[in-house]
Amino acid sequence: MKTFVQKNLKAIIAVAVLVVIALVLAQKTYYALIIGLIGIYAIVADSLDILFGYTGQISLGHAGLFAIGAYVTTLLRMRLGVPSLVALVLGAIVTMLAGFLVAIPASKLVKHFLSLLMIAFGQMVYLIVNTWTPVTGGSLGIGEIPYLNVFGLVLNSNLKCAIFIWILVAVCMLVKYRIINSRTGRAFIAIRENPVAARGLGIDVRRYKIMAFAISAFLTGMAGGLYAYLRGFISPETFNGTQSTLFMTMLLFGGITTVAGPVIGSAVLLLVKEVFQSLALYQGLIYAVFILIILFFFPNGAVGVYYNMQAAMKKKSNKKAEEQEVAKNA
């Protein structure tokens, strides 16, 4: 029997190297911010993966959920003086309830009807935070959000906040892995693969779709709260339709139904976004190009490319071994 460490040695080394590089880079505040953001978006992409990758329910309105998490957390913290960590959890719970409510009609829809509903939902949230000025500060947003305080430890720098975020990323990955490899996860996948047969085997399809929406909303809401704490400032512009597209692109680019996909997608897309910051106007165009590249060349995302390469190498080495065998025999 191989142990966990032996089985995943390559992955563990890769992660360790990345952590060291990240920690070195993160000494600069700006890089620490980027690293924190990658973590936040990775959580959102993971949550989308549960909903879209595994359960097959498309959502182009996750920026709306992200906004609810960010605003509820911020408002609870600043207006009601709720302790910061409690506000983060409550923000996620409120987002989960919002996801639950959207899911009640959404779970009856499929494909393009569902995507239209979710686009409309994202747009509604965007309009509400943009126009409900007395509460949300309107288009000016809310600034000077206090630091996150984790059991007495004040996360008063981007680096500290980023470390906390990445701990949560790891927790999210574990939670996702466990959900997917359980009875619940199998029900999700069965619904994606064939809802008719799933229902015929005793799965309450609607209930599980709603559950997937709620889980996804909880994680996205939490990511929204983390975003508010990391940036210290939120405004409606962060939560528009482009952001929803960005989340989806991250997931698709990284690769759906994989462990590493959401992280890779989040990292690559965010770096592209930062590098082309001066071309802000054309960001939609850049995402479009990414989506086209994925659709045409890597339908399984970056992780899929890796697996394909691995399979090709294996084939090659097998062939070599075979040839050698033939040569020996001859």
Binding site: V175, N181, R183, V196, L201, I215
Partner: protein
């Protein structure tokens, strides 16, 4: 065990089943035959909860079940396979069967997230049970493969295995031999008899007469949605109305 009581279903002007009555006894293999478009699969869809009948009752173990959603009907002890294979293609063979265990298992989301002892035990039990079923269906050696990569006959067997995993009392098989070659059909005949001997009641729609006549205890014949005959295989083979329905009636 299952009583189909004056079932009628209309789709617009089309009457797919007209006043069909029949009864299946526990431990039987009951065949439902008829020419194409006779309404056999429609009747299956009513029994398994995919359609609600326009009129009439379906009584299972003394309980009216017509119009209930199919997931509830599955919980009551009826499982089915499909005419055009409906597997979870990207899941492995074992996972397909494990989805079948859904109604029999209880672990919830919290159990999954915290990987509780209850969940782990249940998972082990399901895996063991599913391997047993796969062995019974003689496809256990394929359990790690993707369902879509199986040969056609094995896919049909997997559908039956998946249905069996939900612990049904009544198993509805919709054309299990469709598309199979001769030797596969012979093996399937044996398997269906074995399923019956294991204690399941089988309700079978099938076009292959050789298979039907060999395995069924009782046969019901539909034509244009109307029941035209019911009886043992020997009686059905001698029935002039059935012969007319299949070969075209002379005047």
């Amino acid at each position: 065990m299952l009583k189909i009581d004056h079932i009628t279903i209309k789709f617009g002007g089309l009457v797919a089943n007209n006043d069909v009555c029949t009864e299946i006894q526990k431990g039987q293999i009951f065949g439902l035959i008829g020419p194409n478009g006779a309404g056999k699969t429609t009747l299956f869809n009513i029994v398994s909860g995919f359609y609600a009948p326009t009129d009439g009752k379906v009584i299972f173990n003394g309980e009216e079940i017509q119009g209930l959603p199919s997931n509830v009907i599955n919980g009551k002890g009826i499982a089915r396979t499909y005419q055009n294979i409906n597997l979870f293609k990207k899941m492995t063979v074992l996972e397909n069967v494990m989805v079948g265990c859904h109604g029999q298992t209880k672990a919830n989301l919290a159990d999954a997230i915290f990987s509780t002892k209850k969940k782990r035990l249940e998972e082990e039990e399901s895996i063991e049970k599913c391997h047993e079923i796969l062995k019974f269906m003689e496809i256990d050696h394929l359990s790690h493969l993707k369902a879509s990569s199986l040969p056609y006959g094995a896919q049909r067997r997997l559908e039956i295995a998946r249905a069996m995993a939900s612990n049904p009392q009544l198993l509805l098989l919709d054309e299990p031999a469709a598309g199979m070659n001769l030797s596969e059909k012979d093996e399937l005949t044996q398997t269906i008899l074995k399923i019956r001997d294991k204690g399941y009641t089988v309700f079978l729609v099938e076009h292959n007469m050789k298979l039907v006549m060999r395995v069924c205890d009782n046969i019901c014949v539909l034509n244009h949605g109307i029941k035209i005959a019911e009886g043992t295989p020997a009686e059905i083979q001698a029935n002039p109305e059935v012969i007319a329905a299949y070969l075209g009636g002379g005047k």
